[in-house]
Symmetry: C2
Amino acid sequence: MAQVTNKDASVPTADLMDRIVSLCKRRGFIYQSSEIYGGINGFWDYGPLGVELKNNIKMLWWHAMTRLRDDVVGLDATIIMHPRIWKASGHVDTFSDPMVDCKKCKGRFRADQLAETPCPLKPSKTVAECDGEKTEPRPFNLMFKTTVGPIESEENVAYLRPETAQAIFAQFKTVLETARQKVPFGIAQIGKAFRNEVTPRNYTFRSREFEQMELEFFIRPDEAVEAIAGRVLEPDEIDLTDPRPDTTAWGWKAWLKYWVAQRMRWYESLGLPRAKLVEYWQKPDELAHYAKACVDILFKFPFGKRDASGELIGEELEGIAARSDFDLSQHQRFSGRPMTVFDEELKNAWGKLAPDKQSALRSRYRQSRLDYYLKAGEPPEKARALADADAEAFTKGYYIPHVIEPSAGVDRLALALICNAYDEDTAPDEHGNPEPRVVLRFQPRVAPVKVAVFPLLKNRPALVQKAREVYELLRPHMKAFYDDAGAIGRRYRRQDEAGTPYCVTIDFETLGEKAPELRDTVTVRERDSMRQDRVKISELVGYLLEKIR
Amino acid sequence: MAQVTNKDASVPTADLMDRIVSLCKRRGFIYQSSEIYGGINGFWDYGPLGVELKNNIKMLWWHAMTRLRDDVVGLDATIIMHPRIWKASGHVDTFSDPMVDCKKCKGRFRADQLAETPCPLKPSKTVAECDGEKTEPRPFNLMFKTTVGPIESEENVAYLRPETAQAIFAQFKTVLETARQKVPFGIAQIGKAFRNEVTPRNYTFRSREFEQMELEFFIRPDEAVEAIAGRVLEPDEIDLTDPRPDTTAWGWKAWLKYWVAQRMRWYESLGLPRAKLVEYWQKPDELAHYAKACVDILFKFPFGKRDASGELIGEELEGIAARSDFDLSQHQRFSGRPMTVFDEELKNAWGKLAPDKQSALRSRYRQSRLDYYLKAGEPPEKARALADADAEAFTKGYYIPHVIEPSAGVDRLALALICNAYDEDTAPDEHGNPEPRVVLRFQPRVAPVKVAVFPLLKNRPALVQKAREVYELLRPHMKAFYDDAGAIGRRYRRQDEAGTPYCVTIDFETLGEKAPELRDTVTVRERDSMRQDRVKISELVGYLLEKIR
């Protein structure tokens, strides 16, 4: 086996990816869904190590986003929701790819991919080249459809959510009323989402069923910030190193910058190096219609788009979008339920403003609401009336919050962590001779198994008994694995492949057979340096906990 | 508010349930899905406190079932799988309710519920009584259907899984090959499942989208146990108090008994009292066609079926089924992929058996396989040939494992924990006068919030600063909540309703203003006894961790 390292840009990335995929299957990270039935395109299962990796990711995100913050609470909504939610969000009308049908082969193809798709009847030609007559492009909605209740009819159609975000918008007021929060605050959710992708690809990267971690962070409109704080800070005026910043004068641009920094920091805390992460500010023509700005956090996977010089430019791990008040406004219009909040500070501040300031802020707020209503398709007269009413309410302290949305994918991050961790080097075998090894250099916090426990020999009851004791001691505190099969070197190799950061070996020294001062000490071997420490069993839990947290 | 306690069987349970539902909504445990759009029948969302409760349940199950066991590994499979899985499992053909259509009102009704369903046109009459002409009953499949890929056709139909179990069977061999396990061992999975129930009811108890925690525990067929151990132990011969029992001679009846005991113990460890739990052994005519036996663990909710004397008999939290080798055998037949394992101990033991013993065991094993093939619909001749081949393979150490399946519902357990915890009593108000209080007496391990931190007064910066310090100290270790709003008595009441077991108050004693020896101590108030302890801040983390674990 040649040495391959993903630290080295000269290695062909396709080959690297093959090795990663093979390891994932061999060691139980990722399987093809329904493999015994030939699989199902775009669906992937997680095996024993994969589940633990995913659980660690979700737990770390949940802790960072909710437990360690005062201003974010959690939600867990259903995958199937009322279909009007997807009408309000725009997904029913616009979440689609243009498709053409070929009248000859009866196939259906993405209109923008005809020139790269082989013809099913004559694979040597592309669909663009073949002589089958094609229909005009028609939109194909990417939401999975089903029907709820015993009657299959149009009115009972429902969708599998294509994103978790809309559930948060739909429950915004309910959460606000029960959670003792006020704007600015956020609602976080982790859960499955589904997109009927026409061409799932890049392993688990673009699949049809995936898991999202989304935060909707609700903030004041800039006009309210200005009324309260006197001005809106420019992004470069805010101090991102302050753990408890005064955010009173933060507008959406400051909050966007804050969340991008927070999220980048979080990815780095999981072991993704800054050099493989890209902060990509979308250009105006790339933005979704509802977004004022969007920053993608990209990771340089061993696949994906390349720049002119052939360098990988990275694929999206997370998008952080400034979605304005678009979504809540849509749900207010479609449900008829108010999505406004009352902001006492705004009301108090408003009364103290000079009349020309009042007039300027009111006018700006009215314009932003008018823009929304017109974009939403309201007739101009009605739009003006609605914007007038909103502007009037604004002066009394009422508004629809704006939102910053950091939206991350669990599966993409799991894949990024595996790709980043994958490495090959050499390690000494039983006789001290160097042999190649595959090692996953996971940051200990994300590693599926934190520690493996080995008795040096399987056939010495005293060693086995002691090893079991150590295993039972560690197990309540961290995911541990016991292995007594085969030579110790082979056991190390197996744990290296699984990414286990520490291996504890119970040997004759532990039993006090060689030197009394080593009794009840064990060897702790670190995965990357392969360094071995001698640690007292009584200090082992603390020693390891400090390293894996 | 009258005093209502669910400890007291004389309280009308309907009233109790109303109060529980109201509390769940008011405090953010459970909301109706898509509420702003009028809701969607059979779907429920979990609010900030509800998510934490559910996460605790899932984490505790995962720890008990995987981390603390050597013989169980995890899996996380997709909700949408290859449709043949549901053909093999029997769900496509038999997972249905019989329905009739009324030609007059165009409604569709469960054939077995006509006499209890009001007519949509004339609600004073039932559907059975109305004069609309009805169709013959037709099976209505309870699986949600969708199509995968761009073409909506029969061959692209897929289903939302109605249970997580089948994914485990489908991936059985893949997991076995990667996880270094051998029979007996189990595969555990937590995840969403969907059933298009005709009549969702009892709040979240019977909903259309729910979360399951399922273990498939694979064991040797009894004939293999007998070949290896000489005999199969009767269930009453096994010692359930032994933490590491020798299971060599355990047949399926012993394993079933073991898992029922394990699961009952787990529910008790979450605070559900033995008196409200029922171990119900299904009668032969109640068993699913694949099951040899099934034990339901019931909980006495404040709703549901009653016995002849009017006592609640309990509703199902979990079913523990002995499913034989039915599922794996079906997947072997439908996929053409072998589901057999090779058992070296069986092979070794077999060679040492007396010929008449060999012949008896072989014949019994052959008969059980023949029964399966005939039940599965194979023609008798083919069934005999297949059974012969299986019996021959058995003598060489090969068999399809049998399975014990403890299958629990996350949502049902969450509801049981809330119902069990709900209580009303009296507590002193600000002036020492008794006032009614609602309290959720959660076992601390399941409580959504473990500790609340209060500065005695909001307007004393020294108190607030100290309280924030204590809060930051606790937060990395447990879910904590900071509250400085309103009188301290009101803050206690709010935490009582949320089920928070401990409240920590920072007062003037903490600052050392009253007695120097009380400096840097806090008041810890326990929810149920309302007793207050004085604890040093330096010892607070340990003090609380010991109580909440």
